[in-house]
């Protein structure tokens, strides 16, 4: 590794290079132009690493907004009766929390940040195969996000109805749903751009000597995810456009008052939105598959089983959508068929869990922060997956549907899976991205607060749901008081943990020790270049000399 070579953020690969050079030249004499040139060097950059960081900054900004909304919702639900917010405000808050968390954070999620940064590095490539399209995807994301934010403050007020925008409510409500839907549509385009880019990159840009089964499992998970993004997103795009047309042109598609069918909306919505659940979780599974072997110092157990089960989940995720609709009035037979297929999808997930556990067997385990987060994933995601079983069985789903059990379940999956996976990735690749290391002790203390708060927040929701408390309730009967108070207190502890974690990472970024190119002594290809990497990643084209989990002959001094 060429020590002393310029890190990627000191080197420019930009679109509109002529304009950029002119601004940079002007910057020699003017601090204002120097600042503009610096901003342009980021937002015009086609470098996949910079695009990944642009996504990071934007997504975590929105994440903090949605977390704040979540905290306010929990304050309102601290006890029965109205606490702080009117029903109209609360209804807008849960909708925005859902829309931002889903469309602006967890769907772009790990692929947009860590996929962008790491995919070419892990393949030994200089960039993604279409760098300009990659930058364009970020702009589509930002445009969609701005429209979503504008919809809060423009005519009609903040949208309500929940992130699912079920018809006919979404068609009749006077709030600003149309703009929010166009925003979601634009974000879908961004998602398709990223998916296409990753597919072509994985097919075309593997390093010499690297076959399909030599790829890190994180790459496999990005590959499966990209197929879902490309194939499923158009369906929701059409659905959202039809809803906008129905609102503006009064065509009867979903609205029964105009002769439409509201259940059709639910079918179309979930045909996209169920597969997209796997967009949120598969990349996190890929992260876990890459982190566990590094800290257990041994080969991943069942590489092919994990790779195949990743593809199996992506492929079968399209056929289970109607398990979101067991109470909608679909026939007995339809409910049985979709329940059956839903249970089949549980199997590849179980296979993964057992393979990860087996990866710990006879390893040489050191629980550094990334490993701590990866092990946490095994616990919280297990709760998320197992609580799904009662939602797959028809007789129990009928009771639990649209209750707080569902809210608890999907937060364990999305946050306990996707979110915790992202935090594992953050701690694992932080030294590669920044070139510096954070403080381990504070990383572990912040994890402790997160873990305690997280379970205090979401586990009571599971019990509340079994007790029959419906979701999207501004107020509830006094019999649900105690567990709601516990959950609200949990939310404070969890958010403290998150703030603590980011403070520690920020301190690491500003004043951490130099990390070196491979602080974890890992075997995947991104660790073979310097930290942070140079503009085109590697000084010369790397070749595949050992597998991504090849720890043979490895022992600790």
């Amino acid at each position: 590794m060429g020590a002393g070579a310029k890190a990627f953020y000191h080197d420019d690969a930009v679109v509109f290079a002529g304009m950029f050079q002119a601004v940079k030249k002007a910057g020699k004499n003017s601090s204002v132009f120097r600042a503009i040139a610096w901003v342009l060097s980021w937002i015009l950059s086609t470098d996949h690493k910079r695009v990944g960081i642009l996504y990071f900054v934007a997504m975590f900004s929105f994440f903090s907004v949605a977390v704040s909304l979540g905290i306010m919702m929990r304050l309102e639900l601290f006890q029965s009766g109205q606490q702080f917010f009117e029903p109209k405000t609360y209804n807008a808050m849960f909708t925005l929390h859902g829309v931002i968390m889903t469309f602006l954070f967890i769907v772009p999620g790990i692929p947009a940040i860590f996929g962008n940064f790491l995919l070419p590095l892990q393949l030994g490539a200089a960039d993604v195969s279409m760098p300009r399209l990659n930058l364009a995807s970020w702009y589509m994301y930002i445009i969609g996000a701005i429209m979503a934010v504008v919809s809060l403050f423009s005519n009609g007020g903040a949208p309500d109805g929940g992130w699912t925008f079920y018809a006919p409510y979404s068609i009749q409500t006077q709030t600003n749903v149309s703009l929010a839907l166009v925003a979601a549509f634009t974000l879908g385009l961004s998602s398709i751009f990223t998916g296409m880019n990753f597919l072509t990159t994985i097919h075309r840009l593997k390093a010499p000597g690297m076959g399909w089964f030599d790829m890190p499992l994180f790459v496999w998970s990005l590959y499966a995810t990209a197929w879902i993004q490309v194939l499923a997103t158009p369906v929701v795009g059409i659905t959202l456009l039809l809803t906008v047309m129905e609102r503006t042109l009064q065509i009867g598609i979903f609205n029964p008052s105009l002769g439409g069918d509201p259940v059709l909306y639910q079918h179309m919505f979930w045909i996209y939105s169920h597969p997209v659940v796997y967009v949120m979780i598969l990349p996190a599974m890929g992260v876990i598959s890459d982190v566990l072997p590094v800290f257990a110092r041994r080969h991943i157990f069942g590489y092919k089983a994990i790779a195949y089960s990743t593809m199996a989940i992506a492929g079968s995720g399209y056929f289970v959508w109607a398990h979101h609709m067991f109470t909608s009035g679909i026939s007995d037979v339809a409910r049985l068929v979709f329940s059956f297929i839903t249970f089949l999808v549980a199997i590849p997930t179980a296979i993964k869990i057992f393979n990860w556990l087996a990866t710990l067997y006879r390893g040489s385990i050191q629980i550094d922060p990334p490993m701590l987060w990866a092990l946490t994933f095994l616990f919280t995601f297990s709760i998320g997956g197992l609580t799904g079983l009662a939602l797959g069985a028809v007789v129990t789903d009928i009771h639990l549907h649209d209750t707080y059990y569902v809210v608890g379940h999907f937060h364990y999956v999305m946050f306990g899976g996707g979110g915790v996976g992202m935090f594992a990735a953050l701690h694992h690749w932080f030294p590669k991205i920044t070139g510096r290391m954070y403080n381990f002790f504070h990383a572990k203390v912040s994890w402790f607060f997160f873990f305690v708060g997280f379970n205090m927040l979401y586990f009571p929701m599971l019990i509340l749901g079994v007790m029959g408390m419906p979701r999207r309730y501004h107020d509830y009967l006094p019999q649900y008081d105690f567990l709601n108070s516990v959950a609200t207190i949990g939310s404070w502890i969890m958010v403290f943990g998150i703030l603590y974690m980011f403070a520690n990472l920020l301190k690491g970024l500003l004043s951490g020790e130099k990390a070196g190119s491979n602080p974890w002594n890992a075997k995947t290809m991104e660790w073979e270049t310097q930290s942070p990497p140079v503009l085109h990643n590697f000084e010369k084209q790397p070749k595949m000399v050992h597998g991504p989990y090849d720890y043979e002959g490895e022992w600790v001094k």
Binding site: P168, D332, I367, V395, H399, H401
Partner: protein, 303 residues
């Protein structure tokens, strides 16, 4: 769990017991294995790792065992109340869900905002929402049953209540401003009590203010307007006739007196003028002039 309040409960609670037991078993097992491995194979205790790339037998084992288990769960999950198995002698009750109340109409025309049922008799609810309304979901947690209610379409739900008592009815599908207040009561009573309350199947006769009251209940007015003076989403009906106050029209405050013309306009164009201090939340309805005259008679009786 295992309370025997309705015929739907037993299968659901049995499935809950099996599924949650299995969940706890696997969660404890997996977590225990994880913690044990992290302790036993920590770098201190096991400095030299053993490279194991996989094991076909194990892969088959943890593919086949979960497959068998989830097929078992699927089978247990089949024990739900089938739409195709409604008993022929079931008592049919028409349910209307609207923003934000439930109303029930019995065979003899009796209308109420509480669902009153006799113990031990099969009930078939035929549920719908008015044109122009939104989705609701009829949910009785104690009975473990739920079914969406759609405008312009009819969905059904059937069950046999088996223990007398009062139960909550929730709306489980988001339906706007007062979704969380759309809570109704289900009263299961003995057969004789039910007969006293219900009368017989001959159509009920009503006159005077009662006709207007029936119209108010049947059209869900009581979901937002009280009759005892308490404040709900909209102003109370108590003392409405002749009330003086202020309206908000295009952002300006205008005085009003609740006379015939005012009430007629408030019902026919509910969003044109709104009483100051209340949300503009009333949805359109199909009430005709004659209905409204009956309502006015009813309002006059509520002084």
């Amino acid at each position: 769990m295992f309370s025997d309040v309705a015929d739907t409960v037993k299968n659901a609670d049995f499935a809950f017991l099996i599924i949650f037991s299995l969940c706890i078993f696997f969660l404890v097992l997996n977590t225990a294995i994880m913690i044990f491995f992290c302790w036993r194979y920590s770098r201190k205790r096991n400095p030299v790792p053993t490279q194991i790339e996989g094991h076909l037998g194990l892969e088959l084992f943890w593919t086949i065992v979960p497959t068998i288990l989830v097929m078992g769960l699927f089978y247990i999950g089949m024990g739900f109340q089938k739409d195709s198995e409604v008993p022929e002698d079931a008592m049919v009750i028409k349910v209307t869900g609207r923003m934000w109340s439930w109303t029930y109409e019995y065979a003899n025309g009796k209308i109420g905002s509480d669902l009153v049922l006799p113990i031990g008799r099969a009930v078939k609810l035929e549920m719908t929402a008015p044109k122009g309304d939104v989705l609701h979901s009829f949910y009785i947690p104690a009975f473990r049953i739920k079914r969406d209610v759609l405008p312009n379409q009819t969905t059904i739900l059937w069950f046999v209540p088996k223990t007398t008592g009062e139960y909550n009815v929730f709306c489980a599908e988001y339906c706007g401003l007062s979704h969380s207040k759309m809570i109704g009561k289900l009263k299961v009573v003995s057969a004789s009590e039910f007969k006293d309350w219900y009368g017989d199947d001959s159509p009920v006769k009503q006159e005077g203010p009662e006709v207007g009251q029936r119209i108010a209940v049947a059209n869900g007015c009581m979901g937002c307007h009280s009759t005892d003076g308490s404040r709900m989403v909209g102003p109370t009906f108590k003392g409405l006739w002749g009330r003086k106050g202020q309206l908000l029209v295009d952002g300006k405050k205008v005085d009003y007196v609740a006379d015939e013309a005012y009430i007629l306009k408030s019902i026919k164009q509910p969003n044109a003028e709104v009483v100051d201090g209340y949300p503009n939340a009333m949805i359109a309805n199909q009430l005709g002039d004659e209905d409204i005259n009956h309502l006015i008679t009813y309002f006059k009786s509520l002084q």
